[in-house]
Symmetry: C2
Subunit: 318 residues, 2 copies
């Protein structure tokens, strides 16, 4: 935490959806999309308190710190401990329980908004622990696989060690990512309980080999390696059965030239990766059609990797 | 297999020692050293047969196809099926059972020697299955983690899939690799039997995260990532106890600035990686001293990654 700098009066901050796991990177990798984004607008108040304003599109979201965005805003606000307050408004575009990192995006936007409003005493990296605390509130586990790419952008690897660290890997910008969200929900905690506790050595070696292949492909931009590596032998087999039409949607994506297709986070959103924007569009159509045949409406998003993460898109100074 | 080209009368081929596993890359990664190398010299004979000549330094090595080099030479010879023969002499510098890929080097040198002598009808990649067959003879398992880097050079990843493929990853040439071989032997088959059959999901995630970190570091040349990633939670804990002084040797390497230190292949050789040739030299001294204190003499080799693999170093044409 450094000395506070310039303090705008009003700001708008957007934080992107993220694809966690990326197949072989179960619990390790996350990648930021360009859209959809959650947005926070914040204005400074002369009184020393935080006021939360609801998003009319999600009237069920609580207007207190049970809401991840407001919880993280409060944590950052208390850590800065400024002599003025703020009004915070959340505009939610990433539905909760979608598998697209909605809670991480709301939390990242809130953290950056409060930090910016009070002179940016924290660096981006210093804000990550606040966002991860929000993830603990949202899903019960303080995991950074959505939080890190939502905040920092790009392709993030959670690197184990005495202390877990987030590595922002260099990532080729040539790939296009399609995310399709069907109209159903998966509960993150329940999806986590499905996971096997033990694996065979052979399964470990296969999955680790796929991960190394995928990461090498994403760094170097080699499509063939991404295609070879984008598989998940651990989470996908137990989670896929909770997504209606999973096998057909995946097949539709691969038939249209997707390099790989799997579950985004813990679902129900599914993602695919392609070599060109055109192919990604064709893939989105085919995946949506397959969901429709399984009885589900859906939304699709296509983007290259978002290398910026959470952005302050507007600010005003009096 | 293409049409045979120029056929030299005599050739000399060298194939390098290799470090398999590289810590987190258990059963997946291998890296070629500049030295030591096994050498094959071969001369064409007018009669249609292979003759094997012994290495006086290893009089115990059989002079028939129980010897991996001669076994692979015979396989390649039979596949080419030329109308003349060859005399093959093996000069062995990588001791059997060292964990430095000795059988892979002998096999790679033999395969390239026979192929070159009869006009190079096979590409390097086409020779790999022959070398891997040699590994099956040597250790009971047709594994390519030494064979691929010995033949092709560089850093090789065994990428799983419907068919296992070898990916030659781009690798930073800035690191220096120290390999120290103590005067004791480990039996590859026995060392393989020590491995656990099942792992916890947490162990898998840690090891896979280390592997992704290591591979990212080796591709991009980031020392800190190599240091974070070079750990092995699976093979090292059960194999280290069979290497006298293991913990002290590892500590000595790390104390001298090694980015990481683990078992080379299934041991007893140990390797360390460093940022500079000078540091690698200091590390070699410290590791040898620690082995000495454990009662073992040792040999050390230091080199950057060998990107060439098996080389034809000399040939004559009449």
């Amino acid at each position: 935490m450094k000395k506070a700098g310039q303090r705008p009066d009003n700001i708008t901050v957007t934080a992107p959806a993220t694809i966690a796991n990326l197949g072989a990177g179960f619990d390790l990798l996350g990648l930021a999309m360009e859209a959809p984004c959650d947005t926070i607008t914040a204005s400074r108040l002369s009184v020393q308190k935080l006021e939360f304003v609801s998003d009319p599109a999600f009237p069920e979201l609580p207007l207190d710190t049970r809401n991840v965005a407001f919880y993280v805003a409060k944590k950052v606000y208390d850590a800065i401990s400024p002599d003025t307050g703020a009004e915070i408004r959340l505009i939610k575009k990433i539905p909760p329980g979608s598998g697209m990192g909605g809670s991480a995006a709301s939390a990242a936007a809130a953290a950056v908004a409060i930090n910016t409003l009070f002179g940016s005493p924290f660096s981006r990296e210093e804000l990550l622990p606040f966002v991860v605390q929000g993830e603990r509130l949202a899903s019960g586990s303080p995991h950074a696989d959505n939080a890190a790419p939502a905040l920092l952008g790009g392709l993030c690897l959670l690197s184990p060690g005495k202390q877990m660290e987030v590595l922002r890997l260099p990532v080729s910008e040539r790939f296009y990512w399609t995310v399709v969200l069907p109209a159903c929900e998966c509960n993150t905690r329940e999806m986590r309980n499905l996971l096997p506790k033990m694996l065979s050595l052979a399964t470990h070696t296969m999955q680790a080999g796929c991960l190394a292949t995928l990461v090498s492909g994403l760094i170097t931009g080699q499509s063939e390696w991404v295609s070879r590596g984008l598989h998940d032998l651990i989470a996908e087999p137990v989670r896929a059965i909770h997504i209606p039409g999973f096998a057909q949607v995946r097949e539709a994506a691969l038939d249209c030239g997707a390099l790989g297709c799997s579950i985004s986070g813990s679902g129900p959103a599914m993602f695919a990766v392609a070599d060109t924007a055109n192919t990604a569009g064709t893939i989105a159509d085919a995946m949506q059609q397959a969901f429709r045949e399984a009885g589900l409406a859906s939304n699709a998003h296509i983007s290259p990797v978002n290398t910026k993460g959470t952005l302050c898109t507007e600010q005003s100074l009096s």
